[in-house]
Symmetry: C2
Subunit: 185 residues, 2 copies
DNA sequence: TCCATCTATATGCACATACATATACGTATC
DNA sequence: GATACGTATATGTATGTGCATATAGATGGA
């Protein structure tokens, strides 16, 4: 389970409440990790019990009080260890590929339509990432950007490369499927 | 949940027992879907209760009796429907990218080492797929191959394209990280 | 005044899934 | 005779996870 370590990483940049962590996940790591609000609070409770976090209750006048979490030394250490720990590589798990694999059970035109839909979804995902990147420094200017920020940009690069490759692969797949349709229909 | 539909797809090609389905998953769709043996039996029970499958108990002399599952009309129909149904597109979920995103908390050399490890894993995955493909028809001969089989090859193509793209992206990432290391260390 | 919305935290619940374990038959090996 | 292995099916259980819901203070608009 990685969520606690995501939270450690975010809290290393600055102390936050669960509510703020939820927003931070949505704003900055959504392109490779999403989670439910309820999981965040559950994770925070466990992390506090494990001594990774210290809670500070902040009384607010203009909105409900909040519990701001701070990294402890143990938490900082847990993050540093995790950042060096190779994760077990998860095998591909793509249910939609089964719709291709077993596609011969329905007319080719229908599977083509399906894949075109998936292509559209990927194109939209890529557009969202490109829009995000347009508001950030270009590759040439990166050397002058804080180190922390350079790492963050690398994950955005990965997301875009993934989407572009996916588009190209889907296009190739669609071409092959059109050949199948020609021969057999 | 997709496992029941995976089983429908496999059983459409021929009736099998749970034990044989487990082997079929390992032999032919492992490159995009894996599962535990226990889930297969649980899924089969549910699918039978839902009327998608019919059981035939086969008495064997040389090994324990087996329960061979056959598709019913309802099962065949459920497969056909699923094959046309767009799956909700799952957002990227790559915990290792968080190790990059938060990488500034440890020396760059350590993150480089980590990514090199991941690169090795991807290269091994690609090698396994290439070995598998070497025993199958090349692209030029595909037109003369059964339609069912052509679809199966497309999923292998996808797996290889994914791995190749992943390798290229990781290499680019490693180059960027070496630049970071030069500037800041 | 009522209602919606934002801030803020928390629990209930269902589902998917993996790991471990249990049972049991037949064959081959030591 | 004991042990290991392949075949074959099944349950127990823990964990990860998302959706729904509950509670509640403050603000702003209809």
């Amino acid at each position: 389970m990685s969520l606690p370590h995501m939270l450690l990483g975010l809290l290393e940049e600055g102390s936050m409440s669960g509510y703020e962590l939820n927003k931070a996940i949505h704003d900055s790591i959504r392109h490779f990790w999403t989670t439910d609000q309820s999981q965040i609070y559950r994770a925070l409770h466990k992390m506090e019990a494990d001594g990774w976090l210290r809670v500070e209750t902040v009384i607010q006048a203009d909105s409900p009080n909040k519990k701001v979490y701070h990294l402890t030394e143990a938490g900082r250490e847990a993050l540093a260890v995790w950042l060096r720990t190779p994760l077990v590589n998860q095998p591909l798990r793509e249910a939609w590929l089964a719709q291709i694999f077993f596609g011969s059970a329905i007319p080719t035109a229908e599977t083509i339509r399906l894949v075109e839909g998936y292509r559209k979804g990927v194109a939209e995902g890529l557009a969202a990432l490109e829009e995000l990147q347009a508001r950030l420094p270009a590759a040439g200017e990166r050397a002058h950007v804080p180190r922390r920020y350079q790492y963050q940009l690398l994950t955005l690069d990965y997301g875009m490369a993934y989407h572009r490759s996916m588009l190209a692969t889907l296009d190739a797949m669609l071409e092959q499927m059109k050949l199948i349709a020609e021969v057999t229909e």
